[in-house]
Amino acid sequence: MTGGASAPAVRLARVVRHYGGVAALDGVNLTVAAGESILLLGANGAGKTTLLRVLALLARPTAGDYLLFGEPTRRGGDRLEQRRRLGFLAHQSWLYEHLTAEENLRFHAGLHGLRPDGAAIEAALDAVGLPGRRADPVRTYSRGMQQRLALARVLLHRPDLLLLDEPFTGLDREGAGRLRALLKRHAAGRTLILATHDVAEALPLATRVVVLAGGRLVADRPTAGLTVAGVEALDRQGSPAPAAAGPWAAGPPTA
């Protein structure tokens, strides 16, 4: 176990991430306490996916410090233990289309040192609304079904920090409702950071909303008392303004 019990799950200090000459993240400071659920908003290109990739240890900050579960994330640290406690649902499903649902789950479980039995696999598929589909190759799945299976994959090892990038993509209403219920169950006592444009689906899950714009954190406040319209207004504040005045002519919005 890394870090103290009271250590924040995530602490970013002045994190910068460049791609070529472009700063995808530009001095982000963010602390997420264990057990918090963060709704991460921002326009396309605001830096949400880059931030999630940095948090998932898939992209290294160009500058700044990142403490995960209270421990530094630099090379040579205990990154295996940190990765063991992480789960990341990315844009892509990471599934192998010629393998069955069960084979995909077993492969990813195996990478996390788990050997789930048949009942555990069936239960994981049942939880995401794919009962009886364990022997079907993933290539026969629709986009929404693949998203559900990817969710089953990411929850299988019960991560302490769950990172979700547009998890509602491709899901129908029933799937979105199931995902919400599943995340609510999973998030109890665990940390969740969820990037999405679907505020209505995600707001009931979140305890805090964070808005990125141009790689900077421009708003950070609790969701208590916020309506969907209020959060969407906050999100719009972070969107580039169409007028010639420029996005931050009047300075970044205050929380």
């Binding site: 898939l58 295996l80 063991r84 990315a90 892509q92 599934l95 010629h98 393998l99 040192g113 190759p137």
Partner: protein
Amino acid sequence: MSYLRVVGLVAAKDLRTELRSREQAVSLLVFALLILVVFHFAFDVTVPDFTAFGPGMLWVAFTFSGVLALNHAFRIEREQDRIDGILSAPIDRSAFYLGKVLSTVIFMAAVEVVLVPLAAILFNRAFDGRLALTAAALLLNLVGFAAVGTLFAAVTTATRRSEMLLPLLLFPAAVPIALAAVRTTGHLLAGRPFERFAHWVWLSVAYDLIFLAVAVLLFDFAIDE
């Protein structure tokens, strides 16, 4: 978690995927066969000539089809960003590397199992009953080729011109193992005693060990963004 279990997990996943899709097996085999047939008609090789030219022909076919196998091994991981699923897992990344080496060796060995007897028929030349030694020599050189090729493939498939970059990096680095492979195969075809070509075999052993060790140490840096 057991290091070897991850190696087996990755290799088994690759083999299972290939058994279902047959994407790689067909193209590797057809490509290697075409090379052999082109050589057959281009040079009109007689039986004594084949002892001199045959090993080179065989290893050109193996290495060229091997490049296809290596590109495929990592392209499948880069598609859909599947590599991120591996990189975010709590595993020693060198176990992933060794799993890829293992599956590549198995794919290339399968090509050899078809190609060598076919070459023997095409060129009317047998390995004079030294099958076990021939198989061991071929496998030894395959391991060296896959060891260095897998390391370079991991790096080049992250670029846009991986098909071009991989051979450019791989072939110069693979010169010692290619030389040892051709010489060993030549001596075996000529039916010479092991003592005559033992030094080539030891070169292959040393190459395998050095490149496997170096790649295991460097793979985490090579695969990292």
